[in-house]
């Protein structure tokens, strides 16, 4: 192998090592800190303790924020996925300028700065008097919709168009075709879309920054407030670790049901 080749490999390998360290170390540190027995962050750790997790569940605002984040993510992901699925099934075989426009509209929240969306929605909500939780829910629904839309669209487009016609030739009307044929076959797309929408909602900051209110806070915003105003207390580390654990759990669950390859490809 030429020297240039090995040099190339060395560069790539080193870069990869550096990159993974840079990306993962901050997260690892947070998890390690969460188990610290002391009052401050101790590195290297002198022991393992659950005290900060206990503290997390003792604090009402923390508990509340965690519960709200879960509720919000469940509701928002479900709503977003239902809407995204409907949109995808509508567009799956349609062509033309209208279809292209609609597709762009449904995918737009992916590239649109969520901070501006948060500001815009807050202004609108204040103008019309929208209550906090529904407003936040709809914001996360808009932000999460593109994920379900994209994955279901990909799944649906991969289907043989003759399948639907075969169903029709056997007497299946539009509803029967949708429920018995289309949905079971795009199910992996629906599930992975839901998963992404859930994870995005759970960790979402920019819109929640503006749309949360007294008593209605999400976990990331609660963590942010703590960091801004009360310094880095280790209970934050416990909160963060819980969030990480929840995500790992969800991904593992979906992997069981749908398979890793499906999740990554469907993205």
């Amino acid at each position: 192998m030429s020297r240039r080749r090995t040099a190339g490999r060395a560069i790539r390998g080193t870069a990869a090592a550096i990159a993974f360290v840079l990306i993962l170390v901050p997260i690892v540190i947070v998890v390690v800190a969460a188990f610290s027995p002391k009052d401050y962050f101790d590195f290297p750790p002198s022991g393992l303790s659950w005290r900060w997790f206990v503290e997390f569940f003792r604090l009402e605002n923390m508990r509340g924020a965690f519960a709200l984040s879960v509720e919000l993510a469940l509701a928002a992901a479900t709503l977003a996925t239902v809407l995204g699925t409907l949109g995808a099934l509508f567009l799956v075989r349609r062509r033309g300028p209208l279809a292209t426009l609609l597709q762009a509209l449904f995918l737009a929240p992916l590239v649109f700065p969520t901070i501006v969306l948060g500001v815009a929605l807050l202004l609108l909500y204040k103008t019309v008097g929208m209550p906090v939780f529904p407003g936040l829910l709809l914001a996360h629904c808009v932000i999460g919709m593109p994920y379900g839309f994209r994955t279901v669209l990909a799944s649906a487009q991969a289907l043989d168009p003759a399948l639907e016609e075969a169903g029709q030739s056997l007497g299946a009307g539009p509803l029967a075709t949708l429920l018995l044929l289309t949905l079971p076959l795009v199910w992996p797309g629906v599930l992975s879309g839901w998963l992404f929408a859930f994870i995005v909602s759970f960790g979402e900051l920019n819109a929640a920054l503006f749309l949360t209110g007294p008593g209605v806070t999400t976990l990331p915003i609660e963590i942010f407030s703590y960091l801004q105003f009360q310094g880095s207390q280790l209970v934050i580390a416990a909160a963060s670790t819980l969030q990480i654990a929840l995500i790992i759990g969800l991904v593992a669950l979906i992997e069981r049901l749908v398979g890793i390859g499906r999740i990554i490809r469907a993205r």
């Binding site: 043989d160 003759a162 399948l163 016609e165 075969a166 169903g167 030739s169 007497g171 029967a176 044929l181």
Partner: protein, 361 residues
Amino acid sequence: MSALGSSAGEIDVRLTTVRKSFGPVLAVHDVDIEIPRGSIFSLLGPSGCGKTTTLRLIAGFEQPDAGEVYIRGDRVTALPPYKRNFSMVFQSYALFPHLSVAENVAFGLRMRKTPRAERSRAVTEALDLVKLGALAERYPRQLSGGQQQRVALARALVIKPAVLLLDEPLGALDKMLREEMQIELRSLQQRLGITAVFVTHDQEEALTLSDRVAVMRNGVIEQVGPPREIYDRPCTEFVAGFLGASNFLDGTVAAREGATAIVETAAGPIRLGADAPVGARVRVAVRPERVRMRRDGAAGLPARIRDIVYRGPVTHFYLDSAAGALVCHQQAADAGAWSVGDEVRCAWDPASAVVLSDGRA
């Protein structure tokens, strides 16, 4: 052109002056078809001729721009496919991947709300009909192409449709399997007495399977009739050429004797039964297997053998004559005597020759 046959019994499928365009392209151009009950009707032609579109118009997957579609006497033109009395075997089989073979076959019965006991009995019967009873619990991805095709067939037959549509059903199978399936399909259809319409670009398949063939080109039916008629008496040059090899001879009608016309070609006169008047310029078609070569000096068109190609059961002779190139196919047993360069005379039974017209006959 009207495809009215001498129908015994009812007409199961009728299309009247059906027209369909896709944008600027006229895919189906004022087509009329009548298909009697219990017959197999095939739409034959090259790709883009409109045969698949015509099939889909019967099914309802396309709506005609003009004309009407009738199934068993009912005007179904405005009905969506799931309300029409038909079933279809698709080119890709379109088996539902998430259902087992038995569930696939049962699907149409489920849609018709057939009670469970009767459903499972019908499914078993249908699977036995296509000799796949043992595979009822398998899934489509576990089956071979031929097996998938049979499941598709069973699924379409079990609901006892008024008409069975087949879109190039044997296209994906290899040659031996295809010939096997052709025979099975034909026997199944006759046993069940089902009216069937199928689309193919394979002329051999059309000739084997059908009771009547419609040859299509550019959205128009050029000729309709039983296979023998289409093959032996093609109306147009396209039909003659599409169904097999053909000799084409140009000439002018020099004289008439009753029903027989004597056509003067560049190589000499030929006799055939035709209506063309004296003086008319005609093109005559003769199948290569009908041409007989005789020793020089006998009656017939003079020609010289340019090439001899051995083809197993048949030998092809390529000849040159004053009227153009000629092809003669002889059974191997009769072919031994000739060599390249021989001067011969070509003749045929006058009944084997046909006058072609330019367009729709």
